[in-house]
Subunit: 368 residues, 2 copies
Amino acid sequence: MQCKTARPHPSRHGRLAKRRALGSESPWTEKRRQSTGSVASVKSRVTAQHVADKAGVSRSAVSRCFGDGLVSDDTRKRIEAAAEALGYRPNAIARSLTGRSTGLVALLLAEMENPHVDLVLKKLLLAIAEADKRALVIPETPRQDVTESTMHALDYQVDAIIVVGGTVSDRVVGQLRALDTPVFQFGRQLDGLGGVACDSHLGGLLGGQFLIRSGRRRIAYMTKASQTDSNQRRRAGLAAALDAAGLPLLEEHSEENSFEGGYNAATRLFARLERPDALFCFNDMFALGALQAAAAFRLRVPEDVAILGFDDIPMAAWPAFGLSSLRPNLDAQVARLMAMIAEVCDGAPPRRTVDLVVPELVIRRTAC
Amino acid sequence: MQCKTARPHPSRHGRLAKRRALGSESPWTEKRRQSTGSVASVKSRVTAQHVADKAGVSRSAVSRCFGDGLVSDDTRKRIEAAAEALGYRPNAIARSLTGRSTGLVALLLAEMENPHVDLVLKKLLLAIAEADKRALVIPETPRQDVTESTMHALDYQVDAIIVVGGTVSDRVVGQLRALDTPVFQFGRQLDGLGGVACDSHLGGLLGGQFLIRSGRRRIAYMTKASQTDSNQRRRAGLAAALDAAGLPLLEEHSEENSFEGGYNAATRLFARLERPDALFCFNDMFALGALQAAAAFRLRVPEDVAILGFDDIPMAAWPAFGLSSLRPNLDAQVARLMAMIAEVCDGAPPRRTVDLVVPELVIRRTAC
DNA sequence: CTGAAAGCGCTTACAG
DNA sequence: CTGAAAGCGCTTACAG
């Protein structure tokens, strides 16, 4: 699908000629007359020159008025009146060409399955809008991986790139590091790339200590089989807590990181001869699946088995579940990330380190 | 947060002078030397002129090679080799300035609470990427409503605007209609604005007929208090079915369109002297809350009360719920919408009508 | 098929 | 404080 604008190519007379042709006539009127019928009308085609003509000043003055603002009160007033009347807004695209920023921040979505990502995406979108920037959101598709997405983002001269979730290979990280455009990661801790993440190791540790304190002795870590970064860290944190208490680390894997995956993995765990008395799940969806499996086995939660999740997705708080979980403190993460982006926009070199945000243990019914 | 590029303003010699200065030297080398230290390096700054110099052709040739393609095999080969070596990609921003499209599609998110919207957003993002366009996603914030978001989208000369969800007033629709840029609505049926939507009236009718057929006689419609378009249509469809069967339409409202809202509204319904034997809920989240309320009242579902949702969100299929629902057939909606966008990109006038997609009744445990 | 030139809408030193 | 001019990186009639 190649998009071409419907309007005919503009005639070739120079700026001066055009100014004369326009006179003091409103560009709207002119546009209507030229209209080909299909693309109807108006607005966006008003340019700084139109405003300048109407206000009786130069294009430069109009530009300054909407830019650094070095204009006299009188001209400012005239320009603003003209702009208002014409409905003029500077063309962000053209503006960015002169060396200013585009005001665009690319969001590379490498993973979209987990509802946690939905929340992250929403918060980032809001934060970007609040920072008066626009989000260019590029999902990873079957045909386009992170590298490809990055290229697309670069084509639009974005001010910064945020990689959200997903498995980004070291090779790709190397490429990203070398870019002119600052790249940040959200929710991962890959070396050499700045960003923010929940302190997964600490989360694993806190969760483990809590389960131990509440009297659990046979604690199992449930996760999908893949070796993502945050997965390993959570596991390591839990292992450290168990190790300190002289307890073993049980484990069970599943292929998919989902409700069904959690259901299946927990089912296998519950079928073991020595059933675990606590499940520490890689994330909340997994935990909810496990919860469902416990019900199928007629196990009481938390009496027979405690279940602890990670992410504290909104559903965890639902009365139907009351899932205990570790809250990654998304708002703090988003705020830190936006601060980093503000820094590079102010000309600072991009950070190369990941800010870890401390997760909070949220205790509800499934583990207490 | 105003972004300024860190690099110093380029010196003022004209193109010819610059060409000479560059010679056949790679732009990369030059860039490294100029580097201020902060913004490190490389890539994106390679321009068509660099490629032209390296390939020994004109800028025009390079442009054609990446554009309509009217170049000889020989020059094409040389240009492609040079571009490859330099890592050149055309600057999409600059390219769009000449009258071509920006390749940008704006997604105006007027509502982000419902998980259904998450799914819509994901599907639209994927579809836009597949159509080889980029999504500019602009959420409605406390400070910026749809009108403001539209202005921002227009600043970037997007090819089309998609308004997703939310309450868009008639006044705003008027404004949107008048735009040069084609605007489409997703999931609503406001007059005068093209788009796609689930046939809510038909959904209400189908759901009502189904409940009646399964023997229900006291059927209540549960919804948030607001009078959104789709809400009214679903209600009207249900009312039509009930009317035809000579049954009354019970009703209960809630302020928020959420799990808690559904829980509260259902609680009030169950507390009535004459308890309804079926709940038709505005959406699945509402229905899940109602399901929870039924459990609290120790009502058997579906024996004592049938519960029917709308949207068929992924959770509806979870074994924990088994929620019967109406599936809006999102893929068909997205496909239709993208086809409309492709049309206007090919120069056709934007449609002014809404394509209705037939919802499908998905029967699970809560109503059967 | 190809290059020189003008133009897209804006900004920014420069010289008043 | 202000305007004329050059430039951002690209495309597109135009004239070879």
